[in-house]
């Protein structure tokens, strides 16, 4: 079973080849059965991964939905114009529990949960604590429902 850490490495390796050019947009959907209180940290870790792919400082975060309802979407805006959507859904997962669409200015990268191992499992996120500033931004975005500026 591939984990999100495996996906992260594969994406980084692909981006390093420059085949898809400069990454400009990512859509990452994570499905699993995490408890509500774990969702902000999960989102912050995912946002940290996407930030590494984009290679730009994160400027703004907007959250919709709620961890209590088990469904949150983050909208990320990066300094140089890139953007991302990260969805986290507490729901029975498909495949390895994550879908990715990543657009570069010369191509695209896709990972469909349905193309993963042929069994269903909760998305496995990288171990360790998320970036504290990212986590704080995600929590504030969830609290406020408004776009939150991220400190450089």
């Amino acid at each position: 079973m591939a984990s999100l850490a495996d996906l992260h490495r594969a994406v980084q390796a692909t981006l390093a080849t420059k085949r898809v050019g400069t990454p400009v947009f990512a859509r990452l959907l994570i499905q699993g059965q995490e408890k509500a209180e774990a969702i902000p940290a999960q989102l912050a870790r995912a946002a940290g991964m996407v930030k590494e792919w984009m290679g730009q400082p994160l400027n703004r975060v907007l959250a919709t939905g709620s961890a209590a309802d088990g469904q949150v979407s983050l909208t990320l805006q990066f300094r140089d114009g890139a953007a991302a959507l990260i969805g986290c859904a507490r729901t029975p997962p498909r495949g390895d529990g994550f879908d990715l669409l990543l657009l570069g200015n010369h191509g695209a990268v896709y990972h469909d949960a349905g193309s993963a191992s042929l069994w269903d499992e909760t998305a496995a996120l990288p171990a360790g604590a998320p970036d504290a500033e990212l986590l704080a931004a995600v929590e504030e975005a969830l609290r406020s429902g408004k776009p939150v500026e991220v400190k450089p």
Binding site: G21, T22, V24, F25, R27, L29, Q31, R60, L62, T64, G65, D69, G70, Q71, S73, T75, Q77, D80, G81, A83, L85, G87, A89, T91, P92, P93, R94, D99, L101, L103, N105, H106, G107, A108, Y110, D112, A113, G114, G145, K146, P147
Partner: protein, 383 residues
């Protein structure tokens, strides 16, 4: 109720979606194409393009829309005028008592969309805007959404991207500065792609859920094409929305290059339910075919249409079909056939002008949000 055969009048000709819509009407036994027409004062280039389609279809070109609309043998008008002229033309056609088959999106301004809805209602005519709701995969999504098997619907996520155009020419490095209201929508080289492409997932989600959009946060960008950047129109758009009842929705849409996808582009809808998640992909199920034939390559750039908007311009540069993915599943009936079915039944379309106007409002809220950086509430204020 109108009865077939329906006389179909085509407003505007080549280098519009009329090329496709006219073909769909012509292929339907219930229809007879009457003529191509347009406003009397169109420029020479537009008139030549209108005459070109009329010649190709073997019908006359009637250079005065008002006179064409006075004909008794016209029951249906297919309107593909450029967005900037679309609003007033649709209103004129409705006032003439003709049923309306409309290109997307409905109109670029809220006042125009409202005027269309009012004119259609007053005239008592049927109306329909082209959309994805007539696609078999959309019907499948609707069946699941209505089945209750997903449990409580928690969120919807939709991605629609057209894999067309020669990409990699936009200057990157800073966020796009959006204007509100958006001024230009369609040029020879570029369209506003949040509007042009984003209208599909917006209308689809409204149709699937029956819920109205209540707030929109949007980002527009220039990621791919110098042509879009040059004309200050976006090639990418993203919407984070809330529907009635607190249902979150995200949408990403745009045009991202010929080589970005093995088929026509990403067209995907994720319905997250409390019991299960449904992924509807217009490119699934499929056969994946690998052969020793030459790999697919994009066509040469046609200066008359560098983004590949129109069928005729791509035929001129010998666009080859992508053949690596072969759809498995029922072939779609044409969108025009759906509209004719509704006319036969005396019913309005599920994508009537009133429904299409709701999408216009969401798009405008998106442009306002992208310009201000704020969450925009719906409905928008009038006046």
């Amino acid at each position: 109720m109108s009865k077939p055969p329906y006389g179909v009048l085509l407003v505007t000709g080549s280098h519009t979606h009329q090329e496709n819509y006219a073909a769909a009407f012509a292929a339907d036994r219930r229809c007879k194409l009457v003529a191509v027409t347009d406003e009397a004062d169109v420029d020479r280039k537009r008139r030549e393009l209108n005459e070109r389609l009329a010649r190709a279809l073997g019908v006359p070109y009637l250079p005065d829309l008002a006179k064409a609309l006075a004909r008794k043998d016209v029951q249906v008008v297919s309107v593909c005028a450029p967005p900037e002229r679309r609003g007033r033309i649709i209103v004129q056609c409705a006032r003439a008592g003709k049923h309306l088959y409309l290109d997307k999106s409905l109109a670029p301004k809220l006042a125009e969309a409202d005027a269309i809805v009012a004119a259609v209602k007053r005239a008592g005519v049927k109306s329909h805007m082209f959309s994805f709701i007539t696609q078999p995969w959309a019907a499948e999504a609707k069946r699941w959404a209505d089945s209750g098997k997903l449990g409580k619907l928690l969120a919807l996520h939709a991605d629609t991207f057209f894999a067309k155009g020669k990409t990699g020419t936009a200057r990157l490095g800073k966020p796009r500065k959006e204007e509100y209201p958006p001024e230009r929508h369609q040029l020879v080289e570029a369209k506003r792609e949040l509007d042009n492409v984003g209208v599909y997932p917006i209308t689809l989600i409204r149709w699937l859920t029956g819920k109205k959009f209540r707030s929109v946060y949007a980002i527009t960008a220039n990621y791919f094409f110098a042509e879009h950047q040059k004309h200050n129109v976006e090639d990418f758009g993203l919407l984070t929305c809330m529907l009635e009842g607190g249902l979150p929705v995200t949408i990403a849409a745009g045009r991202c290059g010929w080589m970005s996808h093995p088929a026509g582009g990403v067209n995907r809808l994720v319905l997250v339910g409390s019991e299960r998640t449904l992924v509807i992909d217009a490119n699934r199920p499929r056969l994946e075919v690998f052969t020793d034939e030459q790999p697919w390559l994009p066509p040469n750039v046609n200066p008359a249409d560098p983004m590949g908007f129109w069928t005729s311009t791509q035929e001129e540069v010998h666009l080859r079909p992508k053949r690596a993915w072969v759809p498995v599943g029922p072939a779609a009936a044409s969108d025009a056939a759906y509209f004719l079915d509704r006319l036969d039944a005396g019913k309005d379309s599920e994508m009537s002008a009133a429904e299409a106007a709701l999408a216009t409002e969401v798009l405008l809220a998106g442009y306002r949000s992208a310009a201000t950086g704020e969450v925009v509430k719906l409905p928008l204020a009038r006046g």
